[in-house]
Symmetry: C2
Subunit: 201 residues, 2 copies
């Protein structure tokens, strides 16, 4: 055991690093060693950055985004179109859409998608808050930017039903050929959808 | 950019996490989100563990191992055979040998292997300290536990020459079939070595 050689402090660090997604026990050990070797260049600033994040990061009380201000930068940005709410499952999806500069609306983070098999039900999602926001007069469209998986689509249908009384347009992302994608490698469902929803060139 | 959405604190955390071996920009983003979501269960203890490691971990002045005591646990362990010094390139190799419980000697961490192509020369390794240790009267054997790569073997030859005056037996790890390994997948060099060094059953 590394613990008996290098002391309990390092063993504890390795165990915690191994719980990060993408790091297993072996790569966590490598990461810990790397940190210790790059003490001034990496370990000290990383420790400080974690402490700053611990002190400052909060969940936005409006949309569920995470930010150092609350409400978050997106919710308080006056240049955002207040008529559009983009519903995402996770903050990671919000970040992905922002990186793509895909939409100028505001967001609503559900926190998860419905998944009966994993025991995730409607009460686990921020659905009440979404329904309340959809009823605000300035909101005219709710875009369901959810994964094109069974769970994502189940969630999309569920939300569409919930919002029937809200008087908003409920839309979803288009299916189609990914930019840069080769037809030969695409599944039949995507190809059929892309053909059905073909647009003028 | 996630930075514009989630604030500079998170962006900084992602950038630092991305410099860990095994994490790229994308998985660093995922790791940062995971940390923020698991604030109490992971982010707080990891920050504390890093701080403890920063405060306590040192490089052993005798062997180059890292530990919270100096000299390290291995060097100060009276049950270790003081006649054997096991030379490794890196602390990770020391840990691997300890996990395998492979040897009951003490270690010497070189810090690197000779690599003319990468500009690593003898002055970059802890060779003076090794030679001095090899001259101690209690030391009778130096085991070169170096990678079976060109750089590792170059280093092994270089050290063997250095230690000619020290009056110690210089040995190296055996080559052979890895335990659980299938002959069909082994290279010719390993197979020939395993055959040459065959032992009584």
């Amino acid at each position: 055991m590394a613990g008996s050689v290098a002391g309990p402090e390092i063993e504890r660090l390795i165990q915690l690093l191994a719980r990060l997604p993408g790091l297993g026990p072996r790569s966590a050990r490598r990461a810990a060693l790397h940190l210790i070797k790059k003490r001034d260049a990496l370990m000290t600033p990383l420790t400080a950055a974690l402490q700053v994040a611990l002190d400052r990061i909060q969940v936005c009380k409006i949309c569920g985004n995470i930010d150092s201000q609350n409400p978050c930068t997106v919710c308080t940005d006056p240049r955002r179109d207040p008529s559009i709410i983009v519903v995402v499952a996770d903050v990671a999806d919000l970040w992905a859409l922002e990186r793509a500069n895909a939409v100028n609306g505001r967001y609503h983070v559900l926190g998860a998608t419905l998944s009966p098999l994993d025991g995730v039900g409607p009460q686990d999602l921020t659905l009440d808050a979404l329904v309340a926001r959809a009823h605000e007069t300035e909101v005219t469209e709710v875009v369901l930017a959810l994964n094109a998986t069974v769970d994502g689509q189940t969630t999309a249908h569920y939300i569409t039903d919930l919002l029937q009384e809200a008087g908003v347009r409920v839309t979803r992302l288009a299916h189609g050929v990914p930019v840069g994608g080769e037809l030969d490698y695409l599944d039949e469902g995507t190809l059929s959808a892309a053909m059905r929803q073909r647009t003028l060139f």
